[in-house]
Amino acid sequence: MSQPLLEVSNLSVTFDTLRGKLKAVDGVSFSVAPGETLGIVGESGCGKSITSLAVMGLLPSNASMLASSFRFNDRDLLSISECGYRELRGGSLSMIFQDPMTSLNPCFTVGFQLKEVLKAHRAADKKSCQRLAIELLERVGIADAETRLDCYPHQLSGGMCQRVMIASAIACRPKLLIADEPTTALDVTIQAQILDLLRDLQTTYGMALILITHNLGVVAQMASRIAVMYAGQIVETGQTKAVLSAPLHPYTEALLRCTPDVDDCAAKQILPSIRGIVPDLVHRPSGCQLHPRCDYADQTCRNQDPAVLKVGSHEVKCIHPVGVIK
């Protein structure tokens, strides 16, 4: 087994809020191998974005982070200095965000913002910056790249802005790209294009990708491995095909159930939903976080924090996993 590119072990992120301490991420562990695509799925508010911000070292000031192990590319992220982190960000570790229109600075041209990354990490001079910038824009599929460099973000469409974001994220050939809901704010047709672009770049540069989304369809296409998050915890991890065809965790099962099937002509039934609501992260439920909403829950689930069970490369954090032969 080759050394994992990113290794996160027992990560917890707690926010200091007016209402009390909010544990947004609770004991999360995962790893990403070089060149691999990991999909992280879950509802809004389950902590997936916070996890990625933690990896990038971009948590807000009222957040505190704990982890047993936190390594990227053989560097220990727990003991790294801010300076060192800055070298990584935009360089070997990159991130793109959900809303491309607001993620670009409206006061500066696209070219300016693109060249910034180049100057910061590749120490390129003016002429080569210009050349590289044009190349990058062409690489992400923007036609008429040279003119576009002088455009302002508000002059571009959402899809184009996202391409620009991707361009600046891959400018320095990152080893790992984190994409936080990259297509959620875009039209469906553009979605497909962006996803294709990401896959294409991955193949070309041998880049690892963490794809964060709440859309199971997207993750099915793109990711080789998938991690399902709920209430700040990872409840199931495994090969995408395995998890989606035979889920072990009741939550994953419920999620899959909730995805409407277009071909199902008997769809005169009410759209299924998971009963109950997401728990209050300041006052968490005892034991298993899902137990108030889980059909299989019993007394043990209420009292005990579930251990992680392994079935091959398939891991599940549950006391009564679905369909496991006891």
Binding site: R257, Q269, I270, P272, S273, I274, R275, G276, I277, D295, Y296, V322, G323
Partner: protein
């Protein structure tokens, strides 16, 4: 075998009772320490102002010939009979300051009352009716706002003659444009809302529309501006007093007291520091309260 339940009725979640609007407002106001300090300060000065005749140890205009320019009691040469010292003609500072509170608070109330009253009326009319009336009045407002406020106040006072009442009038005139603008903007915003149009289809007349429907919704910024208008009013009136165009001696008004004290700045500094300090505290109180009100009334600004 696992059970598959397709239809799961949503569990009823208890909804907390809708917080009362005033209660919610008070909660946010209370949380802002500055605003509470402001409120307390204003309360203090209001109290002093109302109780002035009973609180002041001496009549403010009484001259004590034997006690000219005495320093405050804790300094050398001071006398506890005149706790904060006396001025150049022998009047007790403490009493003058206390009565000055009455004058200043009175000024504040009158100025805000007049300017907000007239300004709101004009703003409502302009906003609701629009047309030529609106254009003409707004031009006038623009002109008035183009001139520095003190200048305008000075000119108005010079037309009418320098005394406290005219100073109040002048300050009110200066404050009217901002109210007009504010109310007009609010009215224009509300006019497009559905409830106004709906009310119109029910045959509501202009009067009812303006006062019953629209006005209550313009109150929030109006109240904030009113509070800040207090501080501006007091400052401007004191400035006029300082320039000799407002309250005339022997009336104990803080600004006028400062102007008298100018020549004694080296010999009797307390004559200068004390009245100004009072102005500062009152204005600070109103500003703090105004800020707190603004935060409490505008949900977007809540942290």
């Amino acid at each position: 075998m696992k059970q598959t339940v397709l239809i799961n009725p949503m569990e009823t979640i208890p909804v907390s009772s809708e917080p009362h609007a005033a209660g919610e407002f008070w909660y946010f106001f209370r949380k802002n320490r500055g605003a509470v300090i402001g409120l307390v300060t204003i309360g203090f000065f209001l109290f002093v102002a109302v109780m002035a005749p009973w609180l002041a140890p001496h009549p403010p205009s009484e001259l004590f010939g034997e006690a000219l320019r005495l320093p405050p009691a804790w300094q050398v040469g001071g006398n506890w009979r005149f706790p904060l010292g006396t001025d150049d003609v022998g009047r007790d500072m403490l009493s003058r300051l206390i009565c000055g509170a009455r004058v200043s608070m009175g000024i504040g109330f009158l100025v805000v009352f007049l300017s907000a009253g007239v300004g709101t009326l004009l703003g409502l009319v302009c906003g609701y009716y629009g047309g030529i009336l609106d254009s003409v009045l707004m031009r006038a407002v623009d002109v008035l706002m183009a001139l520095p406020s003190i200048l305008l106040a000075i000119v108005v006072v010079s037309i009418l003659g320098p005394n406290l009442f005219n100073a109040i009038l002048a300050t009110s005139v200066v404050a009217i444009p901002s109210f007009v603008r504010l109310v007009r903007a609010s009215v224009l915003e509300q006019k497009t809302k559905s409830y106004v149009i709906a009310s119109k289809t029910f045959g509501a007349g202009a009067f009812r529309q303006i006062f019953v429907n629209i006005l209550p919704n313009c109150l929030a910024p109006l109240i904030v501006q009113g509070t800040l208008g207090f501080s501006d009013g007091i400052l401007n009136a004191a400035a006029l007093g300082f320039l000799g165009l407002g309250a005339q001696p022997p009336t104990a008004e803080w600004g006028t007291m400062l102007s008298d004290a100018r020549s004694f700045i080296e010999s009797s500094p307390w004559l200068v520091t004390l009245p100004g300090l009072c102005i500062l505290l009152v204005v600070l109180g109103f500003n703090l309260m105004g800020d707190g009100l603004r935060d409490a009334l505008d949900p977007r600004l809540r942290k």
